[in-house]
Amino acid sequence: MTETLRRIAIDPLSRVEGHGKVTLLLDDAGHVHEARLHIVEFRGFEAFIVGRPYWEVPVIVQRLCGICPVSHNLCAAKALDAVVGGVPPPSAVKLRRLMHAGQLLQSHALHFFHLASPDLLFGFDSDMARRNLMGLVETHPELAKQGVMLRKFGQQVLEAVYGKRIHGTGAVPGGVNKHLSLEHRDEFSKQLPQVKQWALGAVALAKQLTEANLVRHAGFGTVPSAMLSLVAADGSLDLYDGGLRAKDAEGRLLFDGLDASSYRQLIQEEVRPWSYMKFPYLSALGPDAGWYKVGPLARLQVCDRLSTPLAEAARQELIASSPRTIHAPLVFHWARMIELLHAAEDIERLLQDDALVQGELVSTGERQREGVGVIEAPRGTLIHHYEVGDDDLVTRCNLIVSTTNNNQAMNEAIRSVARQYLDGHRVTEGLLNHLEVAVRAFDPCLSCATHAMGQMPMEVTVVDSSGAVLSRAERGAS
């Protein structure tokens, strides 16, 4: 089949951290047959964590990412809770939930305000020199300030619970290493009314921009698929813990309440020779039909409700915006801001609990050789799996990060966008812009998925059915 296809590659993508390259394979008629989002760097955390003592793992693996390290810190610690045979005490669980909510809040603020909102506000085709955070500061200073302040609040919560705003040491196997101080609790409680107000404004803005852009870019990157998320026993969204639930493209339940440790039965990972990022799929549906979406839009549609009132009302509005299950990547941003509001409300609820400032922090029991942790990271479901020898050294590690879970979804969205916007065989600025926007709806960071380092330039190449390059365009890192 491939010998009759032409090839287009896009490299680099800006404002997507990591390094990506897109190849568009054309058939004889010049139509996009396949789009491949190549991940060309390899970081190899799964390999070099082997042979290290298990208690180092939560601190080392979080270096996969500078945007959501807390998710890796927590997920590794959850996996290792099983290894140390402990059930973290109530105080530890609540402090971890507080960390997680702070992390979600700061990461979602960064994703929407700093990285994605310039596309939505200025238009996908607008001047690159202006379509960035600095452009936002110039034209919408109050909005930019709110984005910065929301992120700052989330980072202050992290600093208080996890020691640093980025790459701290909060979660340890079996629990956490510190309480929240009374001073911090009072300080955050004072700030919350304003934070919630900003979050409500962010939801309204994301809704307005999403709807406006959906009109302008009908069907943009929309490809139906199954969706996966963690859900609490009562059906509400649980970002920290719970059972795995999946729904099909029409919203019908595929499975529910499954334990994290069963992920290997539920999910298979396919390797393709052109990317370092694997392609997971639901085993029951097979590699062709079993790919799925994770992240805010999936979560809000997989769960029955959110546990906080303002965010749940906003979720209801999102669900009511379409008679069918929503698959449009642009709606991720709206869902993301609803989750940001949920995180702010959740922090408010948690701060009222005295367990944050007192109580046992760590619990251990009978040592086990294996542990699996699952958490809903800002970008989606995150799975860490470790095996540990009797000498306390890690013998095996498997990470399925959020971006990897969305890998096929991103490829499908890119193919859909390329079919819509490829003008002849030439890679135009407009095509580059639209492909970037599609990737960014899912994820601003490819680095954790390949465990790659650095900023992400992007290149697009068009190749014909004989393998000849028809067009090539690249863009440096922003």
């Binding site: 042979g51 290290r52 003592p53 208690w55 180092e56 939560p58 601190v59 080392i60 270096r63 140390v84 020691g163 640093k164 790459h167 701290g168 040491t169 909060g170 340890v172 290493n177 510190k178 760590v362 000498d391 306390d392 050294l393």
Partner: protein, 234 residues
């Protein structure tokens, strides 16, 4: 009482004291690494080198004497100390971000004290597997700076001779005194003095890493300089 001057300030000493011992008693900080107050001076790392009457001497091995003019805090000496510390970093595998000794590591705090912000030299990246054979103790040889404090503590205080240095030059490395080469086959135990003297993250109590939060670690609370100067008499 006899005295010498250290960077222009009078420092009193008693007969037999080294320059660094007298400086410590007076609450005057001279950057050092292998000089441990509980063990005889070794003089191996040279970080504590000062100018004594204009000549470079290691302050941990040079006896104080009346009227000496000692210079420590000079740009040239600090530049040399910085290079020494950089060389120690690149000779081993020091990944501070993932090391449980971060915040309580003498090499790290010295690097900060001296303003070391880059490796400065090419990394040697040696291959040094960890020894996790002991049920309670982990040895991570990647971080060894060959100060021999554990060798001396095990020999002189614990009387167990668990550790020794082997090889020469760049190939010099810490070994365990057992036929198998494994710590589990020595008499090492958690109560040993050798457990407490490692200035970096080689000899570690298992399953304790990262239990002290950032902000409460030894050097977060006070740097070595601050600890010493806190005891200085006005």
């Amino acid at each position: 009482m006899s005295s010498f001057t250290l960077d222009g300030a009078d420092v009193a000493f008693t007969e037999g004291q080294t320059i660094i011992e007298a400086a410590r008693v007076a609450g005057r900080f001279i950057p050092s690494l292998c000089a441990h107050p509980e063990f005889p001076a070794h003089g191996s790392c040279r970080v504590c080198t000062v100018l004594v009457n204009g000549r470079p001497m290691s302050s941990c091995t040079t006896k104080a004497s009346e009227g000496q003019v000692v210079e420590s805090n000079t740009a040239a000496l600090n530049r040399d100390r910085q290079a020494l510390v950089q060389m120690l970093f690149v000779e081993g595998n020091h990944f501070c971000p993932g090391c449980e000794k971060s915040g309580a590591c003498t090499l790290q705090s010295l690097g900060k004290e001296l303003g070391v912000t880059s490796a400065g030299f090419a990394h040697e990246s040696p291959t040094r597997p960890v020894d996790a054979s002991h049920p309670d103790i982990l040895l991570d040889f990647n971080r060894c700076i060959l100060c021999e404090l554990c060798v001396r503590a095990s020999a002189d205080v614990d009387h167990k001779d668990v550790f020794a240095l082997s090889g020469r030059g760049l190939h010099k490395h810490l070994i365990v005194n057992a036929e198998s080469g494994r710590l589990a086959d020595t008499g090492m135990s958690l109560e040993d003095k050798a457990m407490t003297v490692c200035p970096v993250g080689v000899i570690l109590k298992k399953r304790q890493g990262f239990s002290t939060p950032i902000g409460a670690r030894r050097d977060d609370v006070q740097t070595p300089r601050q600890r010493l100067e806190a005891g200085r008499k006005p």
